[in-house]
Amino acid sequence: MANNPQMDVQVGRLLRANTRACVAGCQPAQRFPAFGALVSIDLDENTSAYGLVADIHIDDDGLVRQLVTTPNISEAVIQDNRVNRNVPVELSILFVGHRSAGVISHRLPPRPPLSLDRVRACGEGDICAFSGAGRLGYLRFILDAQDFPAADLLAAHLLQAGRAQRDHGDSQWFAQAVDKVITQLRSDYDRLMPILEALADVQQELGS
């Protein structure tokens, strides 16, 4: 296994992938990772891909549409639809880097993972290692993401990583990340300002 054992929390398995993103399925009963969480997928013994949960799909169907109009719907039926019928919950994962032979890189993984590869939620140690490596270059993947809500994805990730870094003694990380975001988007006022407003909320939550 290419990753730190402390984060060995499987959250799902891979459904489909390309070089930039993948979709994993997971049981709805379990606590699947939150939007913006960092996950990793082992590609082989020495290589892992890192990605952010960029979207979570809960699909509806005719039965659910029929049920929502029914009064006094029983808890068992609600649970049936959540647990039994909504399988799997699909997580879209945006690749943001990889670890190869122990070295973290903020470039896309060398190849996408394969069907049914295990998707793991990263622990704080791994989050710190990934977000603290290099010069935050991976933020470009988030900001350039076309099919995902980039501003909120960024905010969610910076909250998770900011907490981890703060708890591991680096209280400046969040400010450095914001600085990087500003650098990347400063020529685009219309995009940058709403993103910074979202990050203002994150800062408040971090208490920094």
Binding site: A175, I182, R186, L196, E197, A200, Q203
Partner: protein
Amino acid sequence: MIELMEQNQAIGIVTSGGLKENLQVRLNGSPQQVQEGSFIVIDSQDWKFYGIATDLQLQSIDLRYALEPSRTRLPETLANLLDCQTLYTNLVVLPSLMLERGPEPESPDYTAWRSTIDSGGKEEPRPMPVKSIPAHHASVFLAGAGDVAEIFGKPTEEGNFVIGHTREQDHPVCVNLDKLIQRSSGIFGATGSGKSFLTRMLLAGLIDHNRASVLVYDMHNEYGLDDTASDTGENVRGLRSGFGASKVQVVGLGGSATIRGSAPDFNLVLGYSDILPEDVELLTRELNLKETTATVLDALVQSLGKDKWFKSFKAMKRGSVIESEDGKKTPAPDSVAFWANQNGVNVMAAEGLHDKLRRLFNKAYIVESPPADSIQALVEALKKGKHIVLSFGDYESDLDYLLVSNLLTRRIRAEWEQMTNQFRGKNGSEPRQLVIVVEEAHKLLNREMAAQTTFSTIAREMRKYYVTLLVIDQRPSQIYDEVMSQLGTRVCGWLGDEDDIHAVLSGLAGREALRGMLSRLQAKEEVLLLGWGVPMPILVRSRRYDEQFWQDIKTSKKAGFDQAQAIKNLYGD
């Protein structure tokens, strides 16, 4: 240590610019860390560039960042981060000098570079006018003490006089006195800009350095003896008080003149024979002389002699007549009209001139037989290395000033020309360098007078004869262009008038950039050094003319340089 750290702290980077349109520097921090006129150093590879800050401009990456304060939308920390990247100050630097400093001292390249110089294969690098520009992103610093010393000289070196300090970091800025006296120079500033104090200080420096004799035409009796400051009421030490009569002599105009109640070291009294027609001619405006004056004067010299014309003309009577037996009135033989008739001069013209010269005839400092040749005594004193402050005492009118200063200067010029010619003819010793200090210089050097007075000649030519001028004026625009252009070093305090500013900057590179700076100088505090005598224009906070100054002079400690303090700065306590 603080000084060194500050020196190493870059304040920004070069982003664009050129030799013609100045250099643009993006500042790292607040605009207030630099002020207009700051001495700026730019490190670019093997070269150092020196210049001054001429403008500061607020800029933004996108105008909207500037128009909408980020704090209205973001918490302070994020707002600060945003502002740091989107709002910035552009510093405009007028580059003046460049100096090859060679590769990094620790590197092998440096050793090779150094040995080439040491072996004579290359000249020792020295500051030279900019002929190139620093590269993109070259680091920009506020000049450290070392940089200031590199360009303006070390305060400890002989001949370097600390005239003031850099504004932000208080590094001493020197003027090389040997260079200053090689050409005529000027001190300018509007009334109340601190011109007199600056002059006193510079004169003290010159006298202390003692490479030139100084003759001050002290029209308002400010420089010789102690005075009281008009604004603070404090005692202001005069040059003679400071240096003593053995070095500086105060000469009073007139036989029994006293200066502020004190007796001068000796008196200057002019003899009738000293007054020449040309002395009268340059008083044309002052005396409102007619066009016929030259003709009349010429006739007077021709008929009465060069030495006696003044005496004889003064003795003539105006309007005296004799009556003949037949009752006809004719000019008396001692009358002006009689002389005019005898010499074919228009009677009315002669009488008119006589009327107007009456103001001269009545001057107490012009006598028929002076007790001694005081002019010659004065000249001799100067030749011997004394410094003279000629106080005009009660004779503060323009007429007195013009007549006496011109007459005296004419004599001096003749004397120094003769000495120089003898020296060049191997018949004498090298003349003593002389600096003539002219107050209210525009009265003598305006366009109308310049052609006639000796001063313009001195300004233009006398450098070769060891005489230069130090002109002091509040209206430089009134001084004849040709004279202004000859002034090597210009020390300028605050000027409000556009014409005056233009005049001071005439003939200098980067005039446009310096123009605004001159109009924003702080009166009595700041001066701009310009011209040939200084390596590059620089704004300095002028040194205070106070007891400490005199202490420094007396103890021969180079002003502004406290060795003990310097050691402390370098190595700490």
